[in-house]
């Protein structure tokens, strides 16, 4: 942070975009509206005509929807990683970016949560996933990884949302004190009447530390549990103990890339350069380089294990991914996740706006293809050669994929409009407090 910043300046700068977000914001909302309309049409078609409008055919019944579900859960990792783990390790670079990253997490998990409902076709019966008492003896199997997933995602969403909201309360109170009329009343209700008393801060700081400590194992566990959706099955290409760390590294890799994709334009648009600068983005890029390295190692290990296991079915899937019909998916994955991010090893690239922005987008494309590569290519090339198939998504599935991005950006843009994108109180904590001693020294 700049040394010249004052507490009052922080309030002014961070709150400015809340009341006048600018024309670019409205332009982006227009695009989001178009995406939502097209996606809603596609989903509507599927609700009316059934899952037949998707590209599913035997033996591939997990496709774009599950790919997109895993993609968004992965995106949802970076926010809590930045807000909880970096809070406990006292990393200074988290302060400027953690609020928007946390918001990204919540909205990414909200987006992911749509996909089990979309994927089952009869979305109105998605509540069957939850363990509720009923008279039909439809009790869930708690030994199933799909059930674990319901618990993992809902716990992650709840804890992340609480953590996010608790972090927001003092800042919402600051916004309340800068507004009037109905707006003041609304922010007043959301701030829960927070006043910043010594008693409030005393318990708040204790609780905040506990939330961070509780959220930390969740960050590492959620994508491990998601990976068991695959690894617990005996499908070749899925049945691997490597999956949990491999998925967690991939999730942090894609999540941090998405933070860069979102925060770079947000910083420019809302003129927040005094709070978020290249230094923050470079740290995010370095985190991507580290987790990207783990991911590349995991890709190599997967192939080694498949070859060394001497299991013909396993090896056949891995060979097919490279030279079979899905070669282009594998190619996109390697190009976007292993080759292009190497550009960030050059300081010049990882400290330039375009270098950061473009590579982060490429990583996100690559990580979607990685999940598609794991899911579709394994199912399409299972044990029985007679059942091998080639699954491609239909325009309905692509429309729903677009819908997911529009839905996610809708929430993110609304957040940027109505909530402080930078944590006001925490930014002030990093500044030197106003001291009479300093004032007197300056006067001399």
């Amino acid at each position: 942070m700049s040394k010249d910043l004052t507490y009052a300046q922080v309030n002014r700068d961070v709150m400015r975009p809340l009341f006048s977000p600018g024309m670019a914001w409205y332009g982006m909302m227009g695009l989001v509206g178009a995406g939502l309309a097209f996606g809603a049409f596609c989903w509507g078609m599927q609700l009316v005509w059934g899952l037949g409008v998707a590209g599913y055919h035997p033996p591939v019944f997990w496709g774009v929807y599950i790919t997109t579900f895993v993609f968004w859960v992965g995106i949802g990792h970076a926010g809590t990683l930045i807000s909880a783990i970096l809070f406990l390790t006292r990393s200074r670079w988290r302060t400027g970016i953690y609020r928007a990253a946390e918001a990204m997490t919540i909205f990414a998990v909200m987006t992911a949560a749509l996909f089990p409902a979309i994927h089952v076709g009869r979305a109105w019966q998605a509540y069957w996933l939850f363990p509720y008492p009923n008279q039909r003896q439809l009790w869930q199997n708690f030994k199933s990884p799909l059930m674990w997933d319901v618990f993992a995602i809902s716990t992650y969403f709840t804890v992340s949302t609480v953590f996010f909201f608790i972090g927001l309360v003092p800042d919402i109170a600051a916004v309340r004190d800068n507004t009037r009329g109905l707006t003041k009343k609304l922010y007043g209700a959301m701030s829960l009447g927070w006043r910043g008393t010594d008693k409030q801060w005393h318990h708040y700081m204790a609780a905040y530390g506990f939330f961070a400590a509780l959220a930390t194992p969740l960050v590492l566990s959620v994508h491990s549990v998601v990976s068991w959706d695959f690894a617990m099955a005996d499908t070749p290409g899925w049945h691997s103990t490597l999956f949990p760390p491999y998925f967690v590294a991939g999730a942090i890799f894609s999540g941090c890339a998405m933070v860069i994709t979102l925060m770079l334009p947000l910083t420019k648009l809302f003129k927040l350069e005094a709070y978020i600068h290249v230094w923050h983005f470079e740290h995010l890029a370095k985190l991507c380089m580290f987790t990207g390295g783990i991911l590349t190692y995991a890709y190599g290990t997967e192939y080694f294990v498949a070859w060394y296991s001497d299991n013909p079915y396993e090896w056949a899937v891995f060979v097919d991914r490279v030279v079979g019909k899905y070669w282009w998916v594998f190619g996109m994955m390697v190009l976007c996740n292993n080759i292009v991010p190497l550009l960030w090893w050059f300081k010049k690239v990882r400290t330039s706006f375009m270098g950061l922005f473009l590579v982060s987008i490429v990583i996100n494309i690559g990580m979607w293809f990685e999940r598609f590569n794991i899911i579709a290519s394994s199912l399409a090339h299972s044990f029985d050669p007679g059942s091998w198939a080639y699954y491609l998504p239909t325009y309905i599935e692509i429309g729903i994929l677009i819908f997911s991005f529009a839905w996610f950006f809708l929430w993110f843009l609304l957040f940027a409009k109505i909530m402080p994108s930078v944590a006001i109180a925490e930014v002030k904590e990093t500044l030197r407090p106003p001291l009479k001693h300093d004032q007197e020294a300056a006067a001399k």
Binding site: A8, N11, P170, D177, W194, G196, K199, Q200, K436, H437
Partner: protein, 182 residues
């Protein structure tokens, strides 16, 4: 000096500080004069305020709620899974026991974290008095969420003037109530 028990009478007193060191001086002077029943307001948490106000006291009791929630949540969710499988047994090939620890540990872990978080949230709301509806009106000053610190006495008994005097001498830029303005 022994602490003054302030009767629920007297004018409320509010002091506004521009500087943290002046605020700390004010708190120190009040403690020295035996006044402890007041509220400090700050736009950010400062460990100096925490130390001077709570230095001799136990850490926040929120931690016991977190622990209780975690233990309760883990037990509840493990019981849910075990009782469900015992009451509606699914015969799974391979001779696996109905109540099987490793697969149940996953949701037990999730239940532990979820309940610990919920208990922490409720403890936070309870101890912070949120939603806050009964705080003194003097605390409702927009400067306290911006760039100023404050000390508020809701009741001053017969000491209003003395308190106002201490606050003013410690460097407050504004003291209201207690017969002092400015």
């Amino acid at each position: 000096m022994s602490a003054h028990a302030l009767a629920a009478t007297g004018t409320p007193v509010k002091a506004v500080y521009k500087h943290l060191d002046s605020l700390l001086q004010g708190i120190h002077d009040l403690h020295k004069a035996g006044f402890r029943d007041f509220t400090v307001l700050s736009p950010i948490p400062r460990h100096e305020i925490e130390e001077i106000m709570y230095g001799q006291q136990e850490p926040s009791p929120v931690r016991w709620f977190t622990l209780t929630g975690g233990i309760l949540g883990g037990s509840m969710v493990f019981s849910l899974a075990s009782l469900t499988h015992s009451n509606w047994p699914m015969i799974i090939p391979g001779g696996k026991p109905l109540v099987s620890i490793p697969p149940f540990l996953v949701i037990t872990f999730e239940g532990t974290i979820l309940w610990a978080s919920m208990f922490t949230l409720f403890a936070l709301l309870y101890f912070c008095g949120l939603p806050a509806t009964k705080l003194p009106k003097e605390t409702e000053d927009p400067r306290f969420s911006n760039d100023c610190f404050g000390i508020v006495f809701e009741r001053t008994g017969a000491h209003a003037e003395k308190i106002a005097h201490i606050l003013q001498n410690s460097g407050a830029v504004e003291v209201t109530g207690g017969g002092t303005h400015g």
